[in-house]
């Protein structure tokens, strides 16, 4: 508490001008884990003094102090008092907090980058599955460390709504370090940027660190997509980067819904459209219900726009993390409307969502029969496909083929299933 009062007083001197010599970054407190709060006070001529309180001091005290000294040296800080309150933060977190504190006091373009893990070098494809993508608050390192273990299709480090306004700057640096240091175990590496100009600035902290996909919140038109793309291209050029960065606009307003088609085909980089129902219903001035009648039009409109553009429509998150049955029901409705994925706010939702979007055994078997009937009719040169006494129209075959393709991609059946069946029959 003491530091916070001091900071306030130093921020606003009697002449009303900002004049800062103390900075604080990070989090501490009873419930905070795997994070640290760093107070930095610039001094003159006293050298570096580090006051470390840490629950892991006996095991990592020396290495924490060495890291702090290295960062201060990197930013040419020679005289400072640093007080650290550490709850077991990993080195990349400590480094992010220290850098954030320094940048509150010193203007610099330097970045203290932790090593980039080779495991994180992968790229993703436009058509990969995005059934589940796990939202993680961008300034809460404790939730990030093991996030990759839960088999989500994507992991979203969020810089927008889950980060308090006064923590936005330090979250950027933390997310940058997380992209470099946390093994995502193959999940698509996603970040949700802020709205407006701040969001475009966020990109500088993400694009050089192999982010696979950027979520654009409260998207209302193609302009912003184009702007974001320009920024991404210029960063890629500057750093000579080749990897494609995909975009997933989130539509959360009436205007956004009206412009969903324009947004969906604004750029080749747009691979999915997501809907944000909390904000959308607020924009309409209606209450969000479980049945969702109030957003039915918006959801279907967005699905149609996405399908027309050949990209994935993605549903909003389901907020009751304790009720897995209701979640599954919600996913099944979502799937029946045409959505191809949903956001998660808790790792336990991942498996339920995946299960919901995965075709079940009965669906696959029925589709196999239809496709098989179609194939044998083709071989026999028949113009009409029949299954038993029932005639099958081409759209039915097309739908069955889609389910089969999905099952093959999910490794539920072999790509060569049709020949395998025939050879058994022979």
């Amino acid at each position: 508490m003491f530091e916070k009062i001091t900071r306030f007083e130093l921020h606003y001197q009697s002449d009303g001008k900002m004049k800062k010599s103390i900075a604080i970054a990070g989090n501490s407190g009873l419930k905070v884990r795997s994070d640290c709060e760093i107070m930095l006070e610039l001094k003159s001529g006293e050298g570096i003094i580090i006051d470390l309180t840490s629950k892991v001091k006996a095991l990592y005290g020396e290495s924490i102090k060495r890291l702090i000294a290295e960062i201060l040296d990197f930013f040419s800080v020679k005289d400072a008092f640093i007080r650290i309150n550490d709850s077991g933060a990993l080195p990349f977190v400590i480094a992010a907090r220290m850098e954030s504190a320094i940048k509150q006091l010193i203007n610099t373009d330097l970045e203290f980058l932790p090593e980039f893990l080779n495991e994180n070098l992968y790229t993703t494809t436009k058509e990969r599955f995005r059934f589940s993508r796990l939202y993680l608050p961008g300034n809460t390192p404790g939730l990030m460390i093991n996030a990759g273990l839960h088999s989500a299709d994507g992991i979203i480090l969020d810089l927008e709504d889950s980060v308090a306004p006064e923590k936005k700057d330090e979250a950027r640096i933390l997310v940058r370090n997380a992209l470099r240091q946390i093994d995502f175990h193959g999940a698509e590496r996603m970040v949700r940027i802020n709205q407006g100009d701040r969001g475009l600035e966020d990109l500088h902290f993400l694009i050089p660190h192999n982010v696979n996909l950027v979520l654009i919140p409260k998207c209302e038109g193609a302009d912003y997509i184009k702007k974001a793309e320009e920024v991404i291209n210029s960063i890629n050029k500057k750093f000579n980067l080749k990897n494609q960065v995909f975009l997933m606009p989130i539509i959360e307003s009436a205007l956004g819904i009206e412009n969903s088609w324009e947004i969906a085909h604004a750029s080749e980089s747009v691979v999915a459209l997501a809907i944000g129902l909390e904000d959308y219903t607020a924009d309409l001035g209606v209450t969000r219900t479980i049945e969702g009648n109030e957003s039915f039009y918006a959801r279907t409109r967005l699905i149609v726009a996405a399908k027309a553009a050949g990209i994935q429509p993605i549903d909003s998150v389901f907020s009751d993390v304790a009720d897995m049955d209701a979640l599954l029901q919600n996913v099944l409705i979502s799937k029946s409307l045409g959505f191809e994925g949903m956001g998660c706010i808790h790792p336990r939702q991942i498996a339920v969502i995946k299960k919901g979007f995965t075709p079940d055994q009965a669906e696959i078997e029925k589709s196999k029969k239809i496709v098989q009937a179609f194939e044998s009719a083709k071989i026999q040169g028949l113009g009409v496909v029949a299954l038993g006494s029932k005639m099958i129209d081409p759209p039915v075959v097309a739908r069955a083929q889609k389910i089969i393709d999905l099952a093959v991609r999910l490794n539920l059946i072999s790509g060569d299933w049709i020949n395998e069946i025939t050879s058994v029959e022979k």
Binding site: R33, S34, K55, V56, K57, A58, L59, Y60, G61, E62, S63, S87, G88, A89, L90, P91, I145, N146, L149, H150, H346, P347, R348
Partner: protein
């Protein structure tokens, strides 16, 4: 004069003498056979006790005086009232006011509510504690502030020490939720019900003097009696023996941590894929959040497959009770209960049976329960590359936990440790455990959120999960992964002074804890 130390069979340097008594170094699992006769307390005579059977005296102080409380005595208590215990501290408060010195406190476990005894350690009333040391008490001991050397024993090791006469209890002060004037007592009834008081059995059988303290005196006979009045000297009635909400947690809770749930899921998956979990398999898991989640997953599996576990060994929780009630478990044998559902169950369900630790865990006995268990789910603060386990100290060298039944349970057929790979940056897998509590040859599987390591000694288990799709790794790989994420920790520095001895289940010394060098 420095105490002579030797290297024991586990490679640890241990003293040949502890608190002035000779100590036997650990010889290897199953190697030490003590011989001789069991300890026997003095023979009493009925003529010294009231003919009407009424042994009630006015106060705990009066009872302690009548028992001849004096310097250097060993006082035992049980821990069934857990963190709600109001009696243990009271004993030492009385002793201190009487000017008694150098007592040895011999609890079956201590809880945070026992922290006030630190002042009786400071004022010389207590010389040492022989029992589990948690929180501030553990710090106190680790910093070398206790006069005598602590002796840490497992629940089974404690009753073994009593039976074999290594520890001779002068006065056992046994809190009882319900008792009669003759001293018959049980764990149910009254407002301080704890379910069972099985940990008190060896104490009342072997102590020279026994005091039963209750806040629920009932007419003779108190039935069914867990403590038999024929062994009891005095009965004391007080307003409260404990704080109910701290004795039994209203409800035990499955972990909500996604990482712990992942560990639980992997554990359940391992149990099925290895074939260890099968129809009839016997199982024991604790009351921690991860263990409870495992119990829930195991219950689902048993249900789906139509299997039934022959019996489970408690501490019971509502999740075990549910298995019993829904037909997936034949019996619950129980040494302690953890929540209200379990208290209700043990009172009403004939297949939920009290089973004293004395019978379940005593290694110097004609067989015990733990080696009959198929599946044993345990925790650890550290495990090393040789699968050795530590449960008493943290990696920073501080003594922070008791052994509980952990060592005893290592004798089960399949010992599985579901543990996080690191806790708040502190890796759980280390080169060498800070304190050795259990030899690696008894620890079979380590299950972390980042992979499963099977002890290379268990070739059968390794074979059984080949090609199962489980994330199998060597323990070295797990350790390297943790250190890649957390960094390599520096080692705590110790002085030469021994602050605690860790006994193996047979009474031999497996390791010691040394005083921490404070910076």
């Amino acid at each position: 004069m420095p105490i002579k130390t030797v290297i024991n069979a586990a490679g640890r340097s241990v003293p040949l003498e502890i608190n002035g008594q000779p100590a036997i170094p650990f010889k290897g699992v199953g190697k030490h056979k003590p011989g001789g006769r069991k300890y026997s307390p003095p023979i009493p005579a009925c003529s010294d006790y009231p003919d009407d059977g009424n042994k009630v005296v006015g106060s705990l102080e009066e009872a302690l005086r009548k028992c001849g409380l004096s310097d250097g005595m060993t006082i035992s208590t049980h821990h069934h009232l857990r963190d709600g215990d109001l009696i243990s501290n009271k004993v030492f408060e009385i002793a201190s006011s009487l000017g008694v010195k150098d007592l040895i406190w011999f609890p079956s476990a201590s809880f945070p509510c026992n922290d006030p005894v630190i002042k009786y350690l400071d004022d010389g009333t207590i010389n040492r504690i022989e029992g589990s040391m948690n929180g501030p008490l553990g710090r106190y001991v680790s910093e070398g502030k206790m006069k005598g050397t602590a002796v840490l024993r497992s629940h089974g090791g404690r009753v073994q020490a009593i039976q074999d006469g290594e520890v001779r209890i002068d006065i056992a002060v046994l809190a009882a939720p319900t008792a009669d004037c003759f001293g018959n007592a049980k764990g149910t009834g009254g407002h301080s019900a704890c379910g069972v008081i099985g940990y008190a059995k060896a104490d009342y059988l072997y102590a020279t003097r026994v005091i039963v303290v209750t806040d629920n005196l009932v007419d003779f006979p108190c039935f069914p009696m867990e403590i038999e009045g024929n062994y009891v000297d005095y009965v004391v009635v007080v307003d409260r023996i404990g704080i109910p909400e701290k004795i039994i947690s209203g409800t035990t809770q499955v972990t909500k941590s996604p990482d712990r749930l992942l560990i639980a899921e992997l554990t359940a998956s391992f149990l099925v894929k290895s074939g260890i979990l099968k129809d009839g398999a016997t199982i024991q898991a604790g009351a921690g959040g991860t263990s409870l989640a495992i119990a829930v997953f195991v219950h689902q599996i048993l249900k789906e497959k139509g299997w039934k576990s022959k019996f489970g060994f408690g501490g019971s929780t509502k999740y075990m009770v549910k298995m019993l009630e829904e037909g997936q478990m034949g019996f619950i044998l129980d040494a302690q209960v953890f929540d209200l559902d379990s208290v209700k169950s043990i009172e009403n369900n004939p297949n939920h049976v009290p089973y004293p630790v004395f019978n379940a865990y005593n290694y110097h006995s004609k067989g015990n329960l733990t080696s009959m268990m198929d599946i044993m789910i345990l925790g650890a603060t550290e495990v090393d590359l040789n699968f050795n386990g530590n449960v008493v100290t943290h990696s920073d060298g501080y003594l922070l936990h008791g052994i509980g039944g952990w060592q005893n349970c290592l004798h089960a057929r399949n010992v599985i440790l579901p543990i996080p790979l690191f806790r708040d940056r502190i890796p759980v897998i280390v080169d060498e455990v800070t304190t050795l509590c259990g030899p690696g040859e008894l620890i079979d599987v380590i299950i972390t959120e980042r992979g499963i390591a099977v002890n290379p000694l268990r070739k059968d288990l390794i074979e059984s999960v080949k090609g199962s799709g489980l994330p199998l790794k060597t323990i070295k790989e797990l350790k390297d992964e943790a250190e890649k994420i957390c960094g390599v920790p520096q080692k705590p520095k110790f002085e030469e002074d021994i602050v605690a001895a860790v006994k193996w289940v047979d009474g031999t010394v497996i390791d010691v804890v040394r005083k921490l060098k404070t910076m």
